[in-house]
């Protein structure tokens, strides 16, 4: 296990370097000048040139040199869109928020998904089972901007139980976490239900049942661990995606997270912010996948981490 950990951690800088190179190349290929306002008036040409020079945007090699020099000092550059902020400040203000929301929504998704999936598996073929699969289908199909807006309009608009968006108190977390969790919960419910359905017919379960354990006991204590493995695989990238924020949910519920920057930085061609945000996402993806791989071993002792995959 330690060996796996070390190897993966050593691979991380290499992966990041490749991600950086590809993103850097792409941002230079995208046409357009990030310093120009499409709706506004153009300052004189010399001013535009001066602005470009200031940000090292006049050529790709000066940009690269300036960027690497900055990164060595822990400075990921200024934002081109929000001129008074640096990329590290933007990420530092947005990442914790997105991570907390992601954590909350994942836990909710796990709770809802495992619960619904298990209910279905307890009574296979019943109304409860078919109903839960049906709800799961709905959860996967409905986009978050639909469920989010509906929940907001209902609970904050009509009933006024919850303030309209913002990130001031734990109450503000409820609706966005719920909205974010629904698609994942639906997917987890399906995985658990189908996985359990399969596991319940396997040999070790038959043995346990033969020994006299109740169906419920078998389900909770033995079968779930095995059926949980596919969910674990799903959780790795899902955690990375949830933690780095969802553009749609953050917009609807006014959450000051990192998700919106993924999209907006590209449309405003804010090269520094794009690079910073992409590198963060790549790091989290690698780390979460590593965590998932380590967790695998604990869940199913049959898996040998040291063995080549």
């Amino acid at each position: 296990m330690i060996r796996l950990l070390l190897i993966r951690l050593l691979q991380l800088p290499l992966i990041l370097a490749v991600v950086f190179a590809v993103t850097f190349a792409l941002t230079w290929i995208i046409p357009g000048n990030p310093l120009e306002n499409p709706e506004g008036k153009r300052p004189p040409a010399e001013v535009q040139e001066a602005m470009k020079a200031q940000y090292n945007l006049d050529s790709w090699h000066s940009f690269l040199r300036g960027y690497v020099a900055g990164v060595v000092h822990g400075d990921f550059g200024p934002s081109l869109e929000y001129k008074d902020w640096r990329v590290t400040q933007i990420i530092a203000s947005g990442l914790p928020v997105s991570m907390l929301l992601g954590l909350g929504s994942l836990m909710l998704a796990l709770g809802i998904g495992v619960g619904v999936g298990m209910i279905g598996a307890l009574r296979p073929g019943s109304v409860l089972d078919l109903g839960s699969l049906g709800i799961a289908l709905l959860g996967i199909s409905l986009p978050t901007f639909v469920t989010g807006t509906m929940l907001l309009a209902l609970f904050a608009g009509t009933l006024q139980w919850i303030p309209v968006g913002g990130w001031a108190s734990p109450v503000d977390m409820i609706l966005p976490a719920l909205t974010l969790s629904l698609p994942a919960a639906a997917y987890i419910a399906r995985l658990i239900r189908l996985g359990l359905g399969e596991v319940m017919t396997s040999n070790f379960v038959r043995t346990a049942r033969a020994k006299g354990l109740t169906r419920r006991r078998v389900l909770f204590d033995h079968a779930l661990k095995v059926a949980f493995l596919p969910v674990l695989s799903f959780l790795g990238p899902a955690a990375a995606a949830a933690m780095t924020g969802s553009f749609v949910v953050e917009k609807i519920f006014v959450i000051p997270g990192l998700g919106q920057h993924f999209v907006k930085a590209v449309s405003s061609k804010d090269q520094f912010l794009i690079l910073g945000v992409v590198l963060i996402y790549a790091t989290m993806l690698v780390l979460f996948n590593l965590a998932v791989d380590l967790a695998y071993a604990w869940f199913d002792p049959r898996i040998d981490l040291a063995a080549p995959v």
């Binding site: 300052p43 040409a45 020079a53 907390l100 001031a168 006014v254 000051p256 061609k269």
Partner: protein, 629 residues
């Protein structure tokens, strides 16, 4: 922030501790049994399973509660401010010399006080940081006497040198001020910019690159400024400005953000010449709440990225007694629907920037609510025609013929556009300068075009394009994501139906759109333009041949001559008449097709929120607002 990260780290490592402990226990308790015994030990298995279950449940609950607990711990004071408004985007910058967005200027007016401010609601310039000023007979020399009791928020007196420092900043290429053009009326400003540009270019190409060399370069720049530019601090409370030519609107310009002062002594600490490029590098921390020194009615108390900005009444402001709301909060709410819900729920007092292109907003306006106010703006929505003889790909450009442009313009039914497409009922535009927004200037509507199909067809035939022949392959280009598609589709349909001209629609992403517009890589392109100051030249200068914003690449020497003559004319009526004639000349040739004049949609309860005085020029005195609950 540190608390949150460390708590997050601790709570995320806890699971591994719990799980690890569980894993170890289950292994040691069963290794000493044989295979058969292990399988048949019914009493052992349930215990292990129960331990697992308990541990897993604890782990799960821990993770579930981490987020809400941390949010609760780091949540901040949610006391309602005296006056709250919501906008859709985070400030681009709060640096007064660098800003150009209206939403930023709105905040700058609260933080900084320029020499003069516009008195509302009559929109007359009145003394602000300056208590009085005199103008020489030739209109070229302005002498401002600053108030003796004007103070910065750290107690320092507001000095003339603070204005000199700020205005010099605006004229430096190092600051890349969007509105540097406004400074060009000051003697020596344009030349100073070129001087510095050459200086810096020479430095970059040169061999000596060191901190001391860059510092010396800057000193030379400042000395050059003092010698050649017409902005001087005669003493601590007297500022003298020398203009290039008579500029009737100069006093109003002094109220603009670019002309606001900056506390030189504290700002200097954040500026350093960069040894590599020779240019001044400014640490943007100077504009943050911890460091910003302001002389306006408010000071910056808190600025949370993409969340909110808190302004608190500045006790050192010379007119602090007259300030209404003691605290102001600007919230960032991107989605217009959420903005509306916040207003309805009473969380926000004013929505100044509901996007007029949103269908939700059009619905709100159509419902006729008394909290939704539609205010005509000093801006025009129009289409550019490429007036160059050839397109960038070498094809001949049929739009170079003014008759074709006029015909196309006459075939657009503008009233359908504003009633059925945008549904906001904007004023139809026949001229480029909006009607009724400039006192004393009558926009030449007679020279503009009306919906006239007969004449349109005739003109088109005259130009040799009857029934749209020879006009294939034209495209209407617009920037995506800002609601321009519907208008473009409507116009495309109108041209097809009435003239037989078939165009395609080309939605282009924002930054790319700007590029192509600038280089005339288009046939017809959508555009908008707002006036910056209350003089017709803010609209008409755009059509000068050498103007960087002349996207249509239209040039008419007679037009340029008229504008030049107007610049030399002292007498107001004669000058205005010249400008009106110039606009009429431009409209005759239709390098652009004006469609409608902008409106802005404001949401507020006029019974509760008084003294907002919404107007076409977005002039405000927010410290005068009165809110009753």
């Amino acid at each position: 922030m540190a608390l949150m990260t460390s708590s997050l780290l601790i709570s995320s490592s806890l699971p591994f501790v719990v799980v690890g402990a569980g894993a170890v226990d289950s292994v040691t308790s069963t290794t000493d049994l044989t295979e058969l015994e292990r399988v048949t030990r019914l009493d052992v298995l349930p215990d292990i399973a129960e331990d697992h279950r308990v541990r897993l449940t604890i782990l799960y609950l821990l993770l579930l509660c981490t987020a809400p607990v941390l949010v609760w711990l780091t949540g901040s004071d949610q006391r309602r401010a005296d006056f709250t408004w919501a906008v859709g985007t985070e400030p681009n910058t709060l640096d007064p010399q660098r800003m150009s967005w209206l939403k930023d200027i709105r905040l700058a007016e609260c933080l900084f006080e320029p020499l003069v401010r516009m008195r509302m609601p009559d929109m007359i310039p009145e003394p602000a940081a300056a208590r009085a000023w005199t103008v020489s007979n030739d209109g070229l020399t302005y002498t401002f006497s600053l108030r003796d009791n004007a103070r910065w928020s750290n107690g320092d007196a507001v000095r003339a040198s603070d204005f000199v420092y700020a205005w010099r900043r605006a004229m430096l290429p190092d600051s890349s001020a969007d509105y540097i053009g406004l400074m060009h009326c000051i003697e020596g400003a344009k030349a100073f910019f070129h001087f510095r540009t050459e200086q810096v270019t020479a430095y970059r190409k040169g061999s000596t690159h060191s901190a001391s060399a860059a510092a010396r370069l800057h000193e030379a720049t400042v000395a050059h400024f003092d010698q050649t530019v017409g902005v001087r601090a005669i003493d601590d409370h007297t500022l003298c400005v020398q203009l290039v030519r008579r500029t009737p609107y100069f006093i109003e310009l002094c109220a603009f953000a670019t002309f606001m002062p900056v506390h030189a002594a504290s700002h200097r600490r954040f500026v350093e010449p960069d040894p590599g490029t020779g240019m001044l590098k400014t640490d943007t921390q100077w504009i943050k709440p911890d460091h910003l020194v302001s002389n306006g009615p408010y000071r910056l108390a808190r600025w949370r990225f993409k969340r909110d900005i808190l302004l608190v009444a500045n006790t050192d402001y010379w007119n602090a007694a007259d300030v209404g709301p003691r605290t102001i909060v600007q919230r960032i709410i991107e989605s217009p629907a959420t903005q509306w819900l916040s207003f309805r729920g009473g969380e926000v007092d004013w929505l100044p920037e509901l996007p007029s292109t949103s269908t939700m907003v059009a619905d709100l306006v159509a419902e006729g609510r008394d909290t939704v106010h539609v205010i005509p703006g000093a801006g025009t929505y129009f289409y550019n025609f490429n007036c160059k003889p050839y397109f960038t790909d070498g094809r001949e450009n049929p739009l170079a013929d003014p008759r074709v442009r006029r015909a196309l313009s006459m075939a657009v039914d503008r009233s359908t556009l504003v009633t059925k497409v945008t549904r906001l009922g904007q004023p139809i535009a026949r001229t480029f300068v909006p009607v009724d927004v400039l006192p004393g200037y009558s926009a030449p509507t007679d020279a503009g075009l009306v919906f006239d199909l007969a004449n349109a067809k005739r003109l088109l035939a005259e130009a040799g394009h009857a029934d749209g022949r020879g006009l294939e392959g034209l495209a209407i280009m617009y920037n995506t994501g800002a609601g321009h598609e519907r208008i473009a589709q409507a116009i495309k349909a109108m041209w097809q139906e009435h003239l037989g001209v078939s165009v395609t629609l080309e939605g282009v992403e924002g930054r790319r759109f700007s590029d192509r517009l600038k280089n005339q890589d288009y046939a017809i392109a959508r555009a908008g333009w707002f006036g910056d100051y209350r003089d017709p030249t803010t609209f008409l200068d755009k059509f000068l041949a050498e103007n960087g914003n002349n996207d249509a690449a239209w040039s008419n020497p007679a037009f340029d001559a008229m504008l030049a003559e107007a610049a030399m004319t002292a007498e107001v009526p004669a000058r205005i008449a010249l400008l009106e004639q110039a606009e009429a000349l431009m409209l005759d040739e239709q390098p652009i097709m004006p469609l409608f004049h902008y409106v802005s949609v404001h949401v507020f309860d006029a019974k509760r929120v008084r003294n907002l005085w919404p107007n076409a020029w977005h002039l405000r005195r927010l410290e005068r607002v009165q809110i009753s609950r």
